[in-house]
Amino acid sequence: MEGLGQWLYDHLLSLILWTPVVGALFILFTHRENVRQIRFWAHVFTFLPLAFSVYLWIAFNPPQMEMQFVETYDWIPVLGIRYKLGVDGLSMPLVVLTALLTFVSVVYSPTAIRVREKEYYALFLLLETGLVGTFMALDFVLFYVFWEVSLVPMYFLIGIWGGPQREYAAIKFFLYTLVGSVAMLLSILILYFHSEPRTFGMTELIEQQPLEGKGILQVLAFLGFYLAFAIKVPVFPFHTWLPDAHVEAPTAGSVLLAGILLKMGTYGFVRISLPLLPEGSQVFWAPMGVLGLINIIYGSLVAMAQDDLKKLVAYSSIGHMGFVMLGIAAAAMDGRSFTDPVLRDYKVIALNGATFQMIAHGLMTGAMFLLVGVIYERAHHRDINRFGGLWSQMVVYGSLFSFFSMGELGLPGLAGFWGEFLAVLGAFQLFAWAGLAVIGIVITAAYFLWTVQRMFLGEPKEAHSNYPDMNLQEHISLWPLAVLTFLAGVYPKGLLTIIQPAMESAVEKMTKVLGGG
Amino acid sequence: MGEVIAFYILALIIVLGALAVVTGRNLFHCGLSLAAVLLAVAGLFILNGAEFLAWVQVLIYVGAVLVIILYAIMLSENITGERILLISQNRGVGFAAATLVFALIAFLGISLSGLLAGHTSSVKDPVLALLEGADSNVIVFGTLLLTRYILPFEFASVFLVIALIGALVIARTAE
């Protein structure tokens, strides 16, 4: 028993990573007509990684700045490519979030997915592996593998089970992301060929700084990564795939798209761009900040103009990711701010906010898309103007929707507040024009309140008088998110103590390169 | 001097014959011009001391290849029941490309003879021991074929068999 426990502990990350694939195999060998069993396997094999990742959270040692639970095996030794996994305060919460959102999506799915379920659940489990792997990988080739692996299942999820425009949305999503990833591939190769000794290891490369002082090459490598990450985030003007993909994807697909896939981009910025290419980041800090602001304001304005509830949530995501980008831009800001310890602390605060926002947004947007799915299953349309007075009909639904809307608009006491607050606070101390983000916050508040008003208040309408309130699966999938949103709001310290060391370490690594200048 | 005259006569036949092949309108006449070219090339071989090769050229090329071609012409005219009249298209493009190729090779030809004084192999070829005292072109040719070029020689025989079988398979009439 002792030995087993130790073994579990040593291979915790691999277990979380590969359990879904095992589940996918189980499903593949189940007959397609046997839907009950397929669902059963899907539930089991998304719950297991969730259980493992909860254990990961408990066993995680927050103050430690280095990677934890590291597993290293040689994969292609002749090129120095390894199977290397590890988590720190940045990736651990994202891994847990992924496991959680996948689980709630699978719990929610039976109400919405009625065709080709075998393929659906198999792809869903495969997707989880891709996403978790992206956050865990500490070797660039492995990272790239998982990055691409997550792309393919999502393409099918959108294309087969999506809305009317699904084919267009699926191919657009695939190609946009592919463009970004091949650019990233070239950057990875540039880094490799300038490293000495040659390596694809992330931590080793950050240590080596192979492109330090290489001017244009560093900038090119940065731009390669930037393209990949910015398309994922998505940063304006690379965002055009997002509304299509989100609107057309099935509910569970949207949950993972908004909840996790977007974070792959911002995760990449914090994990790779900032510490590995500090000079490149520094060159582009202002454009990144400006684009972040544009994201916030443009996303909110467009969201306000939407009548389609799902589109509204999709555009609100663009806005919210802008805050993350703002925090990242603040961390990337040029040399002077690295020499001043006070400003450096604000960088850490901004990054804390950015990472906090990633988690919070994952929880809340995931929930919002689930809520959109709930009403769509009943009304078969998503036009906000055709709803009204729903609260009297669906009390729990109305309350949860309002709760998450408050979270999204950044009500203090809920998760959404801290991320935006810390990111803007940190950024504002470094460059005052970050304060313009407040405009976005105001607009966001306005359209969320307006939406709640249009949908839930007022006279109940005849058309939806017979809508039942949420069923069991919907309850199970939504309440954990609600509880966590609340907890993160009232006790942000729990999350921040985990995040903080990783952010400090990132800023420290940048300072080591830029501090002198 | 004799070689000079012979060369120019043969060259004239070759060039004129070849031009007739590529511009003539009557396919059958083209075939006959080709025969003239092939025979003249055999003459050039003799001029270069390749007697055996010249015989091969006459026997295989003129004897076999050309007969096949003429046969193809007559057979196809027989099947369609009409005389095939040849047309030429894209003359401009063809002429330009041909001129370009010729210019390139002619330039090479002029520069090449100055560039390369002669081939001296660094390899001590063991075949020379076998050719000690050989005095006729045929003997040397045969010896080389069955020693140094034994593998291509064997390979070529398989090649010919397969080409024949293949040709038979696609040409035979349906049962």
Binding site: - | V4, V15, G94, F141
Partner: protein
């Protein structure tokens, strides 16, 4: 006046160029086959002449052997080409390559 390697190379170049001209302008499959034969003969002239002029030992007749194999190839090619012509005839009753255009050329 001497006949040197250049003469032969220029003659073979001329023959080769005429062959290419034929390839580009002719449309009849048999005529094309004949143009290929012209080009192959250009190669043989080259090989034999190079062998004679550049190889000091006349017994090393690499070029001549090479040329003999080229003749073998020409025979095989003619054979298969002829068979293909017959096959096309049987199927389509025509022989000009620009008339056969089931597939885009």
């Amino acid at each position: 006046m001497e006949i040197g390697l250049s003469h032969y190379l220029i003659l073979s170049g001329l023959l080769f160029a005429i062959g290419i001209y034929g390839i580009l302008t002719r449309r009849n499959a048999i005529a094309l086959l004949m143009c290929v034969e012209l080009m192959l003969n250009a190669v043989n002239i080259n090989l034999v002449a190079i062998n004679r002029f550049l190889q000091p030992d006349w017994r090393i007749m690499t070029g001549q052997i090479f040329a003999a194999f080229v003749i073998v190839l020409a025979a095989a090619e003619a054979c298969v080409g002829f068979a293909l012509v017959i096959a096309i005839y049987r199927n389509l009753n025509r022989i000009n390559v620009d008339e056969i255009n089931l597939l885009k050329w």
